[in-house]
């Protein structure tokens, strides 16, 4: 059983919204990680993440940040809204704790996108940020 789960979130049909899946694709062959892709998170993902020690959610972000990506430790606390089309990773973590008594170490990696219009493929800027975020991720998991 692998101990690290990576969840790539997004839609490859909406330009840079495919960043989460592109990130996941890069790790598919790496035997250290369990990799899944999601259009959006669902309640049942709480059961999935409960089986791992460490979880990384990777998603495209509309926010522009200094390094082109942000990495945030999630605690799974607070109030969260729910629709079947929008469930925040924090809410999934909170559900995981409530239903399964587990709180895996969870990180949200947001990579800034530029172009979210219809169409396949990442923008030049998104590809560069993907590289930086990937390097950061490898450094972080390598140091564990």
């Amino acid at each position: 059983m692998k101990s690290i789960l990576l969840v790539g979130i997004g839609n490859t049909g909406r330009g840079d919204d495919g960043l989460g899946w592109a990130f996941a694709d890069r790790l598919l062959e790496d035997e250290r990680f369990e990799v899944v892709r999601r259009y959006q998170l669902q309640v049942e993902d709480a059961e999935l993440i409960s089986r791992y020690k460490q979880v990384w959610f990777v998603d495209a972000s509309h926010k522009a940040v200094r390094n082109g990506f942000s990495s945030e430790r999630l605690r799974g606390q607070g109030q969260f809204s729910f629709t079947t089309h929008s469930l925040h990773p924090e809410a999934v973590l909170q559900l995981c704790h409530q239903l399964y008594g587990q709180r895996p170490q969870t990180q949200l990696l947001g990579i800034s996108g530029e172009d979210f219009e219809l169409g396949h493929g990442l923008s030049e800027a998104a590809r560069e940020r993907l590289e930086k975020a990937h390097a950061h991720f490898m450094e972080e998991v390598g140091s564990d």
Partner: protein
């Protein structure tokens, strides 16, 4: 002074809709509209594509019920390839049915546990923060864990057959791509990795016990809230049994008189017409011979349980008898009973899945049949939300020249509009103050239909629903929105 209320977006439904409520000078509800305000137009842009692409393209209509669109389109495309539904090879037919039942099972589990349960557990006037699956999960952990695993069971079965949980690929013209292996089937039977199919049946029965207990305590509410007489439309087998994949079409009126007598799906155009209103992108289908005012029907679980003579699996059939005995009617027009009917279908699908997983035909390798190409194909099945119609015509090169889709939620358009009007009239009319709780009751009524608005209009983009309140001068007085 008259007023106008807007609920925008309506929440815990699939798709984006808006409710507008107009009040007169006395604060009485004058008129209401359930608007579907976005448009995608698959019927149009599918034209010019080769017919064999259609089952893959049209499942992009929706992320919740792509399997239903894939299968309905495939039934139509089979005919374009010269194969009638009855002529499909046995293993291919069994695999498609297994996929279909898995889809209905996971969709009904999703709706009950994630979308509807807050309305039943906390009441229609519960505080907003309570009205979501997060609260259900916090307060009812065992229920939530079972809901998650039931949906997972259905989704993993879809993945085993179609390759992916969402937007997978099963069908090709005249059959299916691949068989299931014994190992894949065992996964759902041995209970080692996930709860087995017998557990799914047991949990379906448990949740039916829950709804029966709820009914015992709240029968008056279920009998009156959002209740309205309507026609009921769905599919039955030639013997009159509940049939979800392929059969004949039957409709009855609110008293049970047959209005459409077991007609072939191929002839649907002879019986149905569609009306358009300027304020909604969703059409209004109706039976031609009864006209627009009397010919509309509800579809989905409540309609199906009303029109069938029996359910061909033993446990679900027993529950059907209890449903009518306990509700005390022979035709049920009470909208809130749709939740109960949906759970009977959940059980029925679990029983059907078990039967198919034990059926040796599911391991067969005779998966495709070829025929003589035709110019027209019609695929109709019962999707989770009701009767789903896909109709295509092609040119000599096999390119789509015409596409007509009548999606389940579209059939329910008139029923949902009348339900909104009824509930608004009862809870909002002549009230001095309009509260968020009152407006939520309008949403509760809509949610009972489990509408999939993105399917019905092919709405692109964001999904939620809203309610608007307007005064007599058409001034916007209040909007309730949540996402």
């Amino acid at each position: 002074m008259s007023k106008k209320i807007i609920i925008d977006p309506v929440t815990r439904v699939e798709g984006h809709g808006r409710v507008t409520i107009h009040l007169d000078d006395a604060g009485k509800v004058e008129k209401t509209y359930f608007h579907i305000v976005e448009f995608r137009g698959f019927e149009r842009f599918i034209q010019g594509h080769p017919y064999w692409e259609v089952p893959v393209l049209v499942q992009r209509l929706c992320g919740i019920c792509p399997v239903s669109h894939h299968l309905a389109a495939s039934k139509a495309i089979d005919q374009l390839a010269g194969i009638d539904p009855e002529a499909l090879p046995g293993p291919a037919n069994a695999l498609r049915r297994l996929l279909h039942y898995a889809q209905i099972f996971q969709s009904h589990a999703l709706h009950f546990f994630y979308l509807a349960s807050p309305d039943l557990l906390y009441g229609v006037d519960a505080p907003e923060l309570k009205r979501n699956v997060m609260a259900v999960a916090m307060d009812n952990k065992e229920l939530a864990r079972k809901g998650i695993l039931m949906r997972k069971f259905g989704q993993e079965l879809i993945q085993a057959i179609a390759g992916k949980k969402i937007h997978g690929l099963t069908c090709l013209p005249g059959g299916v791509h691949k068989a299931l292996t014994l190992e894949e089937i065992t996964y759902f039977l041995d209970g080692k990795s996930i709860p087995d199919v017998d557990t799914m049946i047991a949990w379906s029965l448990e949740i039916l016990d829950f709804i029966k207990e709820y009914h015992a305590k709240h029968q008056s509410f279920m009998d009156h809230f959002a209740s309205l007489p309507s026609g009921h439309l769905g599919m039955v087998s030639e013997k009159g049994d509940l049939e979800l994949y392929h059969g004949v079409m039957r409709a009855i009126d609110a008293e049970g008189r047959v209005t459409l007598k077991d007609v072939s799906t191929d002839s649907y155009q002879d019986y149905f017409s569609e009306h358009v209103e300027r304020w909604s992108y969703m059409k209004f289908p109706y039976l031609k011979h009864l006209g627009l005012e009397k010919g509309w029907n509800r579809v989905g679980p409540l309609a199906r349980i009303n029109i069938c003579d029996r359910i061909p699996t033993p446990l679900a059939e027993r529950e059907r008898h209890l449903f009518f005995a306990l509700s005390g009617v022979s035709v049920n027009n009470h909208t809130m009973y749709t939740h109960w009917a949906r759970l009977i279908e959940l059980l029925h699908c679990a029983e059907l899945i078990k039967d198919l997983l034990h059926n040796p035909e599911i391991l067969g390798t005779n998966l495709v049949r070829e025929g003589t190409p035709r110019k027209e194909g019609i695929g109709i099945l019962e999707a989770p939300r009701g009767t789903l119609i896909h109709h295509y015509e092609v040119d000599d090169n096999g390119m789509i020249t015409r596409c007509n889709l009548i999606v389940s939620t579209t059939h329910n358009n008139e029923a949902m509009n009348r339900t909104v009007n009824r509930v608004a009239g009862e809870v909002i009319s002549e009230q001095g103050t309009i509260t968020e709780g009152m407006l939520n009751q309008v949403e509760v009524a809509i949610r009972a239909y489990d509408p999939c608005l993105s399917c019905a209009t092919q709405a692109l983009g964001k999904m939620p629903l809203q309610v608007e309140l307007y005064g007599p001068g058409n001034e916007l007085l209040k909007t309730v929105s949540s996402s």
